[in-house]
């Protein structure tokens, strides 16, 4: 620790002003680190505008934009949301979220119907989806149980290793997972006369589940469980001393994140129409991290923001630079965001709004909202 850091650390130890007890909800509302929505301001005009835009989107967008951009971003955003929840609120960065999503996708393909013979069991679609989500959630709980034994960056490495282990399993196993080719033609069913893989129906399906996941996370982080989880993120020792079961909360967070990732995985598998080892390979494991970090881990909306940017780059990097150079573009964008923003695109947004509100003489604690990576 350099002298300057030492001085700073000493200054932080100065006695804090004694806070007078206040109602819990008011205290939460003032604490910039606990959630962002408060019960005092549940819905703002900008939320209604965003919702109206999302619902009306397929009416003015071309089928390409509805399906390739809109629906894909929503499905990927849902998987990234599970990482935002784990990382942003639980302080655990797991690279195995795409693995959980892939397990759900594989289970739907194996239990349900697909074009690949000898692998699928042909059970009804609702049973396959249910089983897929349950099995993926169980797998996520197991991954969580293994990785909560470690902390911080160790978690990244262990989840990466687990994810790659699963990749090699599906790549080399032909009896259950059909090896390199994966399972083809895994599509949503035709229900109520609607083929749910058509752009507009699939977009609304993805939108429904994305909104459900988003609202669920926004709600969950305000519950006692969510508050305790954030306490564990900030100081596990203190929470342990207060009588909270740190390990149980962390494993439960993995399970919840696993369920979200599983739903996203089913959607993403239906979007692709197939599930292959490539979709759970190293690059996709890292892509999910890129999406979550790109948007910002500070708030659930960051996952979807990051997904939109990622999908747009993926589709239009060809126009900016050579088709083959997509990785260069996404890597460079990711690097710039990580180097120059404390918390992804959301970090820039909070910095901007803080500057605007201080100019207007508004409250200044917003500036403290951007959470640094150092904790």
């Amino acid at each position: 620790m350099s002298a300057a850091n030492w001085r700073r650390a000493m200054n932080m130890q100065t006695p804090r002003p004694v806070t007078t007890p206040s109602p819990a909800s008011a205290r939460l509302a003032r604490d910039p680190r606990v959630g962002r929505f408060t019960f005092e301001n549940p819905v703002r005009p900008r939320h209604l505008i965003a919702l109206a835009f999302l619902v009306a989107y397929p009416w003015f967008a071309t089928p390409f934009f509805t399906y390739q951009i809109g629906a894909q971003a929503l499905a990927l955003g849902l998987i990234a949301l599970s990482l935002t929840f784990l990382g942003g609120y639980g302080g655990m960065i797991s690279l195995a979220q795409m693995t959980v999503a892939g397990i759900a996708g594989y289970m739907v393909a194996i239990f349900g119907t697909a074009a690949t013979d000898g692998v699928t069991l042909g059970w009804p679609w609702w049973l396959a989806v249910l089983l897929g989500i349950v099995i993926a959630t169980l797998a996520a709980t197991f991954i969580g149980w293994l990785s909560v034994r470690t902390e911080g960056i160790y978690t990244i490495m262990i989840t990466l290793a687990i994810g790659v282990g699963f990749y090699y399993l599906v790549l080399q196993n032909y009896a259950v997972f059909n090896g390199f080719q994966g399972v083809q033609k895994v599509v949503p069913p035709t229900l109520a006369g609607i083929y749910w893989r058509d752009p507009t129906p699939f977009y609304y399906l993805a939108l429904f589940w994305a909104l459900a996941g988003y609202l669920f996370v926004v709600y969950l982080v305000r519950t006692p469980f969510g508050i305790a989880l954030q306490g564990i993120r900030d100081n596990p020792r203190r929470m342990h001393a207060l009588g909270f079961n740190v390990t149980a909360h962390r494993v439960a967070a993995y399970a919840v994140a696993g369920a979200i990732a599983a739903v996203g995985g089913v959607l993403f598998t239906w979007y692709n129409g197939l599930v292959t080892p490539g979709s759970v390979g190293t690059s996709w494991l890292i892509n999910i991290l890129i999406i979550a970090v790109l948007g910002g881990l500070d708030h659930p909306v960051g996952a979807f923001l990051g997904a939109v940017v990622f999908v747009l780059l993926q589709n239009f990097a060809i126009d900016v630079i050579d088709r083959e150079r997509f990785n260069l573009v996404i890597g460079a964008v990711f690097l710039v965001i990580v180097l120059f923003s404390r918390d992804g695109l959301l970090g820039w947004w909070t910095a901007l709004s803080a500057r605007l509100s201080t100019q207007r003489g508004g409250n200044t604690w917003k500036a403290a909202r951007g959470r640094s990576y150092a904790r």
Binding site: I153, L169, A374
Partner: protein, 315 residues
């Protein structure tokens, strides 16, 4: 009673391994011994790459996920140096120097400005690894580059007992790995800089308070760690091959090796490399379909019982 559990685990793990080894020797002695040598030589390469990784992690808590890219960079640089000059030793030096220079640049230009922010540093290395991998593919292409071994290590050694013949180059990897390991151990345990590095691993703040220029120590360590990856790249360019994707493979190998062996411990890296290398080659020889899965089962088992690795200590 305290003496009971170590014996229990040693027997539980040791007896099946000895039994399997006895079966393997009796069934096909040549295959068994060749696989054993292959495993050890692969472990030697893994050790060289992973020791750099563990050195950097132990001191700086920096998980350098661009380590695989440095490996690939060193390998390519070594390949072209060998093509140009015809000297394998020059190629080794070039690979080490190139990777060390890039590692030094990373430390001086980026990581120095985010001390203590482990997660952010890790994210930066992920970004760097993606960019490096794509730049290397752009500059060099996706075709396989295979370096030929130096003439004095080319060809097989003949007239060996049991296995008859074995590649000289592969066998020479074993002493190379041992020499590098011993040199690293001597450097860390018998020199002044090594003493500073070990002190930094234990307590960074105290080292700075003792009047040591910590940034200089960090830069040195990062350069050595990165250089070892480059050196491994040149060695691997002969034994394996250089092609995009190898960077991820070696990065994962390093990860598994240091997780199993224990972060920040060079001896742990040697043990982890031996376990991983042997498990991978025996898996490939006796159960090819599941060889990789097998190694990850080992990883999960080690983590379940020793979360910090075999020689790991609390951070």
């Amino acid at each position: 009673m305290t003496r009971f559990w170590p014996w229990f685990w040693a027997l539980l793990i040791g007896v099946p391994i000895v039994a399997l080894a006895a079966w393997g020797l009796q069934d096909n002695a040549r295959l068994f011994v060749v696989t054993f040598l292959n495993g050890l030589t692969l472990a030697s390469l893994y050790f060289i790459v992973a020791s750099g990784f563990t050195l950097v992690f132990g001191l700086m808590r920096n998980v350098n996920l661009a380590h695989g890219s440095l490996y690939l960079l060193g390998g390519y640089l070594g390949f072209f140096t060998a093509q140009f000059t015809g000297s394998w030793l020059l190629a080794l030096a070039a690979g080490f120097a190139a990777a060390a220079a890039v590692g030094l640049a990373m430390q001086v230009s980026i990581f120095r400005f985010m001390p203590g922010q482990d997660l952010r540093q890790t994210l930066v290395t992920i970004g760097l690894s993606i960019v490096f991998a794509d730049l290397l593919m752009w500059a060099i292409g996706a075709q396989v580059h295979q370096m030929s071994p130096p003439p004095w290590l080319d060809g097989p050694i003949r007239n060996l007992p049991v296995i008859r013949a074995y590649s000289t180059y592969r066998l020479s990897l074993l002493p190379i790995g041992i020499v590098i390991g011993v040199a690293l151990w001597l450097f860390l345990n018998r020199t002044r800089v090594g003493m500073m590095i070990r002190a930094g691993v234990d307590d960074r703040a105290m080292l700075a308070a003792a009047g040591v220029n910590v940034n200089l120590v960090f830069a040195t360590t990062f350069a050595i760690g990165a250089g070892l990856a480059g050196l491994g790249g040149v060695i691997g360019a002969v034994e394996l091959s250089m092609v995009p994707g190898e960077d991820t493979r070696l990065l994962l190998a390093s990860l598994v090796v240091v997780i199993v062996g224990g972060m920040g411990s060079v001896v742990g890296a040697a043990i982890g490399a031996a376990i991983f290398g042997l498990a991978e080659t025996y898996g490939l020889a006796y159960a090819p379909t599941y060889s990789v899965v097998f190694t990850f089962v080992i990883l999960v088992l080690v983590l379940a019982f020793r979360p910090r690795g075999i020689l790991g200590r609390p951070a």
